[in-house]
Symmetry: D2
Subunit: 357 residues, 4 copies
């Protein structure tokens, strides 16, 4: 157990992307953390203030400089290392850091899957460190909080999976919806594509544009289906359609679900509605970062952007017999860096909301 | 039959909204039309140039002035009157204009439904002129072109219905998909809400925001289900979820469909894919305003905004057994005013693309 | 002097606009404040969570309810009252609250001017409480910090004035620029127009649009010229051109200034540049919320939005003999609510950055 | 003189950027032009429909394919060649094409300056073909229409210069403003940066951002000052500050000008105002693409985007003695490709608005 009076020493590998930048912001301001190293090959030698002018007023932003990433050096500097790297690359750092006893929180997909075969199917290359898969904990605190407390390797979930799993898992576990036939239709802001200088993500190509992409087999399906299958106790296959919309941040997911019970009459609908409400309250009433909307309001990304909160609401449709659930999150916070900090707080025994309000 | 050498005299009632403004633009520039009157209670007395500075360089924009709407005056001025009015109000003009022998092209929902009972169910008031419903033609040229040629009252379709019907009708007629279980998930630009001074549509409330609305029973469902039922030969109920996204114009619709045949093997999938391609080619290869994308491209609203084209593409998903179809259109053009002009062109024997390229 | 261990009880009158909403956010999270009342005629009776769903996860957001504004009730509840009201209306609350001994921090223009005659010239009505003008302190902490410490009525500056005064005042006081001929060209996000349901500020009217407005005599000129004149020791008249640009938040101001010295040679330019740098360092090196950029970087609103920081940079142009200074701020934070909290922190002896980082 | 019944054969070199794409659109739809070739090294072999899906419904978009640029081949194919290339590169094509008797319309800066020395000063390399400078005509139709009629090499103006020169030239020629001390403060949409895959122009870097750039000596100054000096009959140096704002298209320029006469009294101001109005009417009343706003309206980019029109309005400020003029244009149309087509129309004796309405 970490002594909660000594600050945790944290480092970020790959700190120049959008998730990395957000980790810098969160860790610079975290009251129980010393941010001791940030690495980026392209920015090596520059100060945090130079690379991210928006942080320049923070007292540490001028002194802390980007370095070249080096696992053995990092292992001597940091208690916990966040990896904000592309999949495949993250494992190259996770393996030596983990071996050196450093707690690793990996924001890539490298350790989210339990099966190296599924990894190969979805990511089109052999898993680089299959022996570590069994030790990794999927860093979704609302599901795996207890395991995160003692984890040495935390695989922080993807942005889309978080927006899909939090609304569906309680319903599946309670037997309120069928695990077959689930459709997740997701709308993501452009930061989800990363800070990549590609023509597709130029301002003029995204502004005044809406488009689907990656149909029909997006990589995130693998971790979504893994977690849904574990909850359902049987293999689950879902339909998932991501779209790119012209906002910086935010994911809105609309889920089309099939209740296990009919609700043709108003009475049946009201009874089922009450059961869903009870199910969500049981799951999330005590969760600091899940907000279940009752009443007439529907989720809106502008109500969660800049926060670590997932907002969700549901509607039963008696015409079709379906249950619709809509969720909204900040893809860079609850969908990435904020959730990673939440896991760190759990791992080190800090209040779970520390540095996240 | 109209003598194609004499210009048609056209008027627009309710010309100050977004659809009305677009009708002004299209009709000012239409080579076979004289725009003789534009009405708007709030702008009465002002010139088109004053109300719409963007048209001020058009020679007629200074001379043409907004007037108060008066059906009996309009009946003496115009051969064809476009109604860009809220539902319920449109009928008040359609009835006397139609009685006076004027061709009416109504962009509201007032004459889209064949059943006054369905109208009452979805629009929450009695239909104001049920006796005219049987004379109205649903102005979707790709389906009702022949009837439009001789129509005296054209009910131009809604923006969402157009984006949903054009991709689905050929597949239903060909028996390639089941008519049950259809899901339409639509994303609309903010102009779809009209030029209404409501706080929900202020810049700061829509920018950096994405939200679903109107769940689960949107009014447009009534005309969508009417047309799908006619094509299927049986009652069809669909799931429809509209979302508001921060673009001025454009609707992207993602359709989740169930093919009537299985396609587990690559051969079965390829065969079904070829049948779908053939079905769409048969329906749309000759259509000037439907663009079926083959190859890897997917629809993007930025490729259709400013045009009267609907773009569509499809993907079979062997993992789920579903067919996904995505469509994109400009909600104010093919979704409203452009389609109304297309119907006018058909009605008066003009080339169908006249004034729309 | 306030006992810094007891929380200050704060209230917000007019909490439903953008500045009011931001005050709610800042005060809910301020470690030394109890937010005891929020008022709004239109939202009276609703909880903060209902009116602002984005704050719904805060523990106080469900219990705190909007009330009708009533000065005598507020005077019993609160130590400090923030007025986020239109000019003219604010004074109606300021007078009784001030008389009752409450500290008033007014975000409107009502008490920014020292002269009731100038107020009448720019605001087109008689000043409602001229007797209070001499007691009001202009709440620009970088200039009036000492007077703010003991103020009973703080007139928090406008957004444009803050972006113009902070870059120019030190240069004028140091005699480095002439006080005549100053031009301030400002670009503001749409939140500057307030949460008003007017057609001009609809999403579709602002998105993909850029326009100047209010030329040539904007009301904010009066307070800008008052403060510049005080610094210059002579009457100053400036040119000020505001523009509306499609962002939610942020003001970028480009200032065209005339140095008092020539700098034709590179040596002269370098010497003047060094003097400007020294002047800004002397003024702002210790200021927590002014960031002077040296080196090649230029201000960008995205680096200050969400913070209480004004960023500024300058360039000498040897071709024209002018000095250009560019500043960037968040119009709702340093330009309004953040600055008001900064003044409150000073007034109550709290660390100046408390609740603002 | 071109026989106006035979279509002109046109080619575009560098057709994959934003200006090139707009030329493709305009020339595909121009009634007197056959677009015979489009070149782009990166897209060679692909059809116009593949590279620009938005044009895919045009009958020629499938048959016309991108080729590698080859001046000698182009000289046999085309009567007129548009160069949409970076400066420096354009001259490599202009020289052989011009020598082969092809009419060249160059959208780059290579032939805009009359002096090779000024070119070197602003573009930092030797002019690649100084011998052609004297033959080039600056393609601003409102100024050089007569010379354009017979030009063999047309140097189409830059986007910023067009927005600055059209409002100022008539006033300078009429002696209404001083040529010294002019300030041009310009706001440009992101398409002005071109379709370059650079991180600075990614959606998330431009959206919700406003920034100045290129201070204080932008390259476009050279052609602006050249044309102002010619009009003034003396050397003119101006202040020019470009800013990047989050819109796809549009430039708004605010000009700060010094009238040659005082106007302290309302009568003096009214008289000067009438003279300015008369000056602009004399210059532009017959111009199809300049719209002078009288009355209370101010230019707004949304009123000109998608058109070849420059909109302008002015205000006298009696407080400062300055004249403010604001102009708005579409940077890709009147600021680039539309203006180039306008020149082509003049050069070939077509109606000047052909293909541009």
């Amino acid at each position: 157990m970490h002594d909660v009076c000594t600050p945790v020493r944290a480092a970020i590998v790959g700190a120049s992307g959008y998730s990395g930048e957000e980790l810098v912001r969160l860790l610079l301001n975290h009251p129980r953390v010393d941010l001791v190293a940030v690495t980026s090959r392209s920015n090596s030698g520059q100060s945090v203030a130079q690379v991210f002018p928006r942080f320049a007023s923070h007292p540490d932003a001028r002194s802390l400089r980007f370095s070249d990433p080096n696992p053995s050096v990092l292992a001597t500097q940091a208690d916990v290392v966040f990896l904000a790297l592309p999949h495949g690359v993250a494992a190259e750092f996770a393996v030596p850091l983990h071996a050196a006893g450093v707690t690793v929180i990996d924001l890539s997909a490298d350790f989210r899957l339990r099966s190296a075969a599924v990894y190969r199917e979805f990511y089109a290359h052999e898993h680089p460190a299959p022996e570590l898969l069994s030790q990794a904990v999927y860093g979704l605190p609302e599901v795996y909080r207890e395991r995160i407390r003692t984890a040495s390797l935390i695989a922080s979930p993807g942005c889309y999976p978080t927006s899909i799993l939090l609304p569906t898992l309680p319903l599946i576990r309670a037997g309120l919806i069928r695990s077959a036939g689930i459709i997740a239709d997701s709308l993501s802001g452009v930061s989800g594509a990363g800070r990549k200088a590609e023509a597709d993500y130029l301002f003029c190509e995204c502004n005044e544009s809406v488009r689907a992409y990656g149909l029909p087999k997006h990589r995130h399906l693998s971790e979504i289906e893994q977690e849904l299958s574990l909850a359902a106790g049987e293999p689950v296959t879902i339909q998932f359609t991501p779209h790119l919309i012209p906002v910086n941040r935010g994911i809105l997911t609309t889920l089309y679900l099939a209740p296990t019970r009919h609700f043709k009459t108003p009475e049946e609908a009201a009874a089922l509605d009450a059961e869903i409400a009870a199910c969500y309250r049981a799951a999330y009433a005590q969760e600091p970062f899940v907000r279940v909307l009752e009443g007439r309001a529907l989720p809106d990304t502008k109500n969660v952007v800049g926060t670590n909160v997932v907002e969700l609401a549901w509607r039963l449709d008696p015409r079709t017999g379906r249950l619709l659930v809509v969720s909204a999150e900040d893809n860079i916070l609850k969908g990435a860096s904020g959730q990673a900090i939440q896991s760190m707080n759990i791992r080190y025994g800090f209040p779970e909301t520390e540095g996240l309000l």
